[in-house]
Amino acid sequence: MTMISLDAVSKWYGTFKVLDACTTAIERGEVVVICGPSGSGKSTLIKCINALEPFQQGTIRVDGVSVGDPNTDLARLRARVGMVFQHFELFPHLSVLDNLNLAQVRVLGRSRDAASERSLALLQRVGLRDQATKFPAQLSGGQQQRVAIARALSMDPIAMLFDEPTSALDPEMIVEVLDVMSTLAQEGMTMLCVTHEMGFARRVANRVIFMDHGAIVEDVTKDAFFDDPTARSVRAQTFLSKILQH
């Protein structure tokens, strides 16, 4: 069953074409990694999926709901799709627990107690239950990002979008975040991850999408992407050899 589908999606900033007829589909439970050079439109693409950015052409469907349809309740749609940002974006004025509770209470209408119970269970899952009363600024970057993942999960999302979740982190903290993401993938979460962590892609992804100049240049299985050099475009090969050097 298709969870997220994009059909010839194009987007312009003024006259600049950021997305160029992007087409792909993500099945339920599938893990897809998006990579590509800076400015190629990766962030823009996933922001279109939960309607944080509008697009001008094409169709995006999430669990059958058309994102571009003016009649779609976008807040409701966003509530069902979790998103994790490069810079965590925890709410600094709220405790860790309240970061997780806020949308559960305000959007899902859960009671504060029910929300807290769910939040604490999720914090337990990311190994941070004992940090619930702290404020984001008191946590390390890796801890903050795990809280951000727990916050997204607190809405019981049908899919998760990640935008370079580890690229603002020190190396020793990257692992703890990738571990949480791997577990999530094993549990069957549908995931779309913009990341340059090729080790993670190799271990966890089903498919890899390579973007360049706003277009999806490659959309192949993980094995084809990593093990079959002939299957890759020159552009993707150059890109891969660059990031694998590090």
Binding site: K47, N50, L52, A75, R76, L77, R78, A79, R80, V81, G82, M83, F85, H87, F88, E89, L90, F91, P92, H93, L94, L102, A103, R106, V107, F135, P136, A137, Q138, G141, Q144, R151, A152, M155, A168
Partner: protein, 234 residues
């Protein structure tokens, strides 16, 4: 009349206290009302609707270009006329400068608070807005629960500075013969011929109150800065 007669102050204390009470009351009402209206104006100025943004910007620029004293005189005459128009009464009701001053200061201060609140809202990173919307919060919820609490925290020192200026500006109403703190002191000073004592005393009270308010906010900032972090405070 040689030397300072401090007793004139003690004798006038109840009268002065009444004036001070009015000054404080007017300051608080104008600050709260001004911040509320200023927030609405700030949101209007940030609106993507050009007419809404334009009207708000025009209002703010007008209020900020006209001297406060002139605005006080204007509203002294306009508020009764406005009330007459609203209520449809035959003649303008007698409002009195004491009460029209509330309207004047709220409307005037709103223009200044608008600019402070607008800067405060802009100081909250765009990522916070994205994160809040991504969780399914609607526009108003994003504002109320995520943007404004952080904005107000960031702008608290400037808000307080503005409130202190307001506290001092309120004394201009004494020119309409209103018995605010300065007005009360002025009346005693004239009656008893004790200008030096009265105005020294008034200055001293202003100094103490304003310093205390500043100190209070500095302490509040220290204890509430815990949620800030260099990385998220970009």
């Amino acid at each position: 009349m040689n030397g300072l007669d401090l007793e004139v102050i003690t004798r006038a204390l109840p009268w002065l206290a009444q004036g001070l009470q009015y000054t404080v009351q007017l300051t608080c009402v104008a600050a709260l009302g001004g911040i509320a209206l200023g927030t609405i104006l700030a949101l209007a100025r940030l609106s993507s609707h050009p007419v809404v943004a334009g009207v708000a910007a025009g209002y703010v620029n007008l209020m900020r270009s006209v001297p406060l004293l002139l605005v006080i005189f204007w509203f002294y005459f306009l508020v009764p006329l406005g009330l007459q128009w609203v209520t449809g009464a035959g003649s303008p009701p007698r409002v009195g400068a004491e009460r029209s001053a509330y309207v004047t200061f709220i409307l005037f201060e709103a223009a200044y608070f608008c600019e402070i609140v607008r800067a405060g809202i802009v100081s909250v990173g765009a990522g916070q807005q994205s994160a809040a919307r991504a969780l399914g919060l609607d526009r108003i919820q994003v504002l109320v629960h995520v943007i404004l609490p952080q904005a107000f925290r960031n702008m608290l020192p400037v808000l307080l500075t503005q409130a202190i200026i307001l506290f001092q500006d309120v004394s201009l109403v004494s020119l309409l013969n209103v018995t605010d703190f300065v007005g009360a002191a002025g009346k005693i000073a004239q009656r008893d011929g004790r200008v030096v004592e009265m105005y020294l005393f008034v200055a001293l009270v202003y100094l103490v109150l304003c310093s205390a308010a500043s100190a209070l906010v500095r302490r509040w900032q220290r204890t509430h800065s815990i949620g800030r972090h260099p990385e998220t405070a970009r």
